[in-house]
Symmetry: C2
Subunit: 185 residues, 2 copies
């Protein structure tokens, strides 16, 4: 068990597997995971799942959080990118040596916050096409120090594992949880 | 696209990835997927995610549905097993040549309905231990005619694929969707 905290930001149009499967793995690893609604406590995914967030994002205590996680999906990732609160939060986390993670289209928000320069980043192919400064490696998951990015919904388990690894969880503990979920074959 | 309908039953304590990732894949394949709350429209997963169901299970029109899907998780699967409405629904679906599917601990509900006899079934290891008539093969996914079962949360994408296959979706169409989600490597 650990008592560390992770905040996942849910914007209207988030990708449901990327939010939920990622949270599931991290909770099984003992993290306290909060679903924080960007603009409302009732948030609808891009495919129509309605989740009741645990709190509003503006009420999240980021000073007490160890990681901030951004699911992708459209228009969810665009909402994250155009939110001044999310921009401030991403910079706050990075300045304080905390983990920042984004999957699928959501790395565009990290780029907008100016935090991808010189970093290895992956994401949904093509979602970086209008962003001159952002280069995707095309790998399933990238971890560059405290910045974790991933490609899309089918990578959610590996994305969660990379976040846990960035937070110092030993690989064998992560593998035990993934094996218990039958992720690994 | 297709206009076929799938009902996923959410009981208190359902496993969140098994419900959400499965639904995500099936929606991407064009199915109309409804989350049906067993006893309330607000349903909490075993790990603490709160989902707003689309309807109450008792209001689901099973005559119009092509498949009934049971996520696992505890106590979710136990609630499914002890629900007379779920028992009636499983028998109705089977009698009408529709697909019945269950993952993780939820095959215990299908066994209780008397629908696993002589069928190849898989599920979460050990969840069948007090059920003399129920034998699990231990495979990640089993499809025996219109009965689909799977082992646990890490198998959700394959579980959804097997449900789609049982509903007649061509394998290449399924693979295209899984590839688009980066499930396949």
């Amino acid at each position: 068990m650990n008592s560390r905290k992770i905040v996942i930001v849910l914007a209207e149009g988030f990708e449901e597997t990327e939010a939920v499967a990622t949270a599931d793995v991290l909770k099984r690893l003992g993290f306290q995971v909060s679903m924080a609604g960007l603009n409302s406590e009732r948030v609808r995914s891009s495919a129509g799942l309605t989740v009741l967030a645990d709190l509003l994002f503006r009420d999240a205590d980021l000073a007490q959080a160890d990681a901030l996680v951004l699911p992708g999906g459209l228009p969810g990732a665009s909402h994250l990118r155009s939110s001044p609160e999310v921009m401030d939060a991403l910079r706050f986390m990075t300045e304080h040596g905390k983990v920042v993670a984004a999957i699928c289209a959501a790395p565009i928000a990290i780029e907008r916050a100016g935090l991808t320069k010189g970093k290895k980043v992956t994401g949904y192919p093509g979602s970086n096409k209008d962003i001159p400064g952002l280069e995707y490696t095309g790998n399933r998951v990238e971890r560059d120090g405290l910045l974790v990015t991933a490609k899309g919904p089918g990578v959610s388990f590996e994305f969660a594992a990379a976040i846990a690894l960035a937070l110092g969880v030993p690989q064998d503990r992560i593998d035990a949880v993934l094996n218990g979920m039958f992720v690994l074959r």
